[in-house]
């Protein structure tokens, strides 16, 4: 299979796979912080920074644009927090405000940057809507490194993350620095988002952060297994979407990745072993059969305690 792909395509495939894994793991953190839509807000909020980074560097320099994107996404995250904590406006409205106002500012700046020499040709717009196929090896290497970094950060202090997410009070009692954990969480989230945007696009990045985590939740109750599964789902969606776009000439990669993730979600929703829709139906059938069998055998018709749940 790999022989059929060009050298560059293999790099792109590897990158989207790693990106999917990083997004899957990070999405788990966001899921349990009840901030699934934060990824959507922050990926939109990255736009002004991308343009400013481009304008300051004077050409399409990936590091400058990434740093700019990270800075403005972080500013967005801080603002969401400040608006929620400092007024009666709720978190969802705060996210909506940051998302739309930052994106509006970004479009203002983008229109101005497009008048700069090299603005239009540099494919600045592509950065937003995702052009996985246009990535070159060095772009891919940066992305792969960042994705590995995000995954490792979560792995190394896995126990601390668990405490931080599920029992923040206990974590504080143990002396875990909650503020710092929160900062690291935001840093990982922002890093994954800004590296992912250029491959998958703004909306697609949100999908990759949300869907694998929700899908994984249907299969297990353990956080560790959920994170691993989520990484697997994310990686699979990234890989499958990229392959599909490579084979169907000119099909957009980002949306195909989303479709792959959505398919995985649907499968999990129906067949999931912990919370899937099919499970209660099967259980009910089994219980009914057992009830019938025991009634025929002349014993008490009630099943044992717990077997119905």
């Amino acid at each position: 299979m790999m022989q059929a792909l060009s050298h560059n395509a293999q790099w792109v495939l590897l990158a989207t796979f790693l990106l999917g894994m990083a997004a899957g793991v990070t999405g788990c953190l966001a899921y349990w912080k009840r901030q699934s839509l934060m990824s959507d807000a922050l990926s939109h909020a990255a736009l002004p920074g991308v343009v400013i980074g481009f304008a300051l560097a004077g050409y399409k320099s990936l590091p400058a644009m990434l740093i700019g994107a990270a800075a403005s996404a972080l500013a967005g995250a801080v603002l969401v927090h400040r608006i929620r904590a400092g007024s009666r406006v709720k978190e969802d409205a705060a996210m909506g405000i940051v998302l739309s106002v930052f994106f509006g500012l970004g479009i203002m700046l983008l229109t101005m940057a497009n008048r700069m020499p090299g603005g239009r040709q540099s494919g600045l717009d592509g950065f937003l809507f995702g052009q996985a196929a246009a990535m070159v090896q060095s772009d891919v290497q940066v992305m792969a490194a960042v994705a590995m970094l995000a995954i490792l950060t979560v792995l190394i202090s896995f126990k601390e993350w668990k405490l931080f997410l599920f029992d923040p009070d206990f974590a504080r009692g143990l002396g875990l620095p909650g503020k710092w954990m929160n900062a690291v969480y935001l840093a990982i989230l922002v890093t994954v988002i800004v590296t992912g945007i250029q491959a998958a696009g703004v909306v697609m990045m949100a999908a990759l952060l949300i869907m694998p985590a929700v899908s994984a939740r249907y299969w297990t109750d353990s956080f560790g297994r959920m994170a691993a599964l989520s990484a697997l789902f994310g990686g699979a969606a990234g890989g499958a979407g990229t392959l599909a776009s490579l084979w169907g000439e000119g099909w957009p990669t980002g949306p195909l990745i989303v479709i792959a993730a959505a398919a995985l979600f649907l499968v999990s929703l129906v067949f999931g072993l912990r919370k899937g829709l099919l499970l209660p139906l099967i259980r009910r059938q089994l219980a009914k059969r057992r009830l019938k069998g025991s009634a025929l055998a002349g014993r008490s018709g009630l099943p044992e305690r717990g077997s119905l749940s």
């Binding site: 009666r88 509006g104 479709i259 959505a262």
Partner: protein, 288 residues
Amino acid sequence: MSYDGWILLTASLVGSSCGLVGVLLILRRMAMMADAISHTVLLGIVTAYLVTRELSGVHMLIGAAAAGLLTALLVQWLHNRGVRQEASIGIVFTTLFAIGVILVAAKAGNVHLDVQHTLMGEIAFIPWETMRVPGFGAVPEAVVMLSAAFLVTLLLIVLFYKEWKITAFDPVLAASLGIPAALMHYLYMTLTSVTAVAAFDAVGAILVVAMLITPAASAYLWTDRLPSMLALSSAFGVLAAFLGYGLAVWLDTSISGSMAFATGLIFLVSFLGSPRYGLAARRRRSAP
């Protein structure tokens, strides 16, 4: 009317209708539904185009309203099956948007439906796409559509004012009074998508989201009364349109981007300076 006049009128209509609809979104904590619907509207428009092969206003309105309703239904369906509200919003709108983008890429490549256009809109071209309206002469199509959307919104809000108010503030009371809460919810979601699509072609998705959420959130910081919040919110929407146009002319940049940014300026002023719920007022109150 002059070129600038038509643009300002278009944007003001967007601002006032979105301002009205947005108030209920903020009160019912469904702000991110605005973001979701303004994305899925793309799928509705593409589907309507693929079915009728026409880019006319009515077809697009119907397609978009259907897509918005579908979004609301799917989000609710997933939510009823144990998926968290915000996660189900995220799942539904990204998927429907992705399908929309793929359909555009695969089937409707030559139409002016490109993603960028849907994001940023083409408000600068509005004054030239005119139609004849008896009694008024040549009026831009977008103005006619937006006026209709504004009137429908106003009518529905006035007509069901009591029902909206009770469902927004006390859903349990609403249920016990026999107000069909589910029906009101879906009616409201349809209203949001009709407003979104009417504004969509004119000003782009991002300004629709900005106009739906930010003026209403700003108004929420100034008042505790629903009627004044409705009035303030649509006034803020209009103000943002004027402010944004001024900015755009001054900096020679994207009109809808500037208007979205201007809603943010209005929110900033409200956040800092509102005498009731602003930051300064809070500080003063908490100081001994």
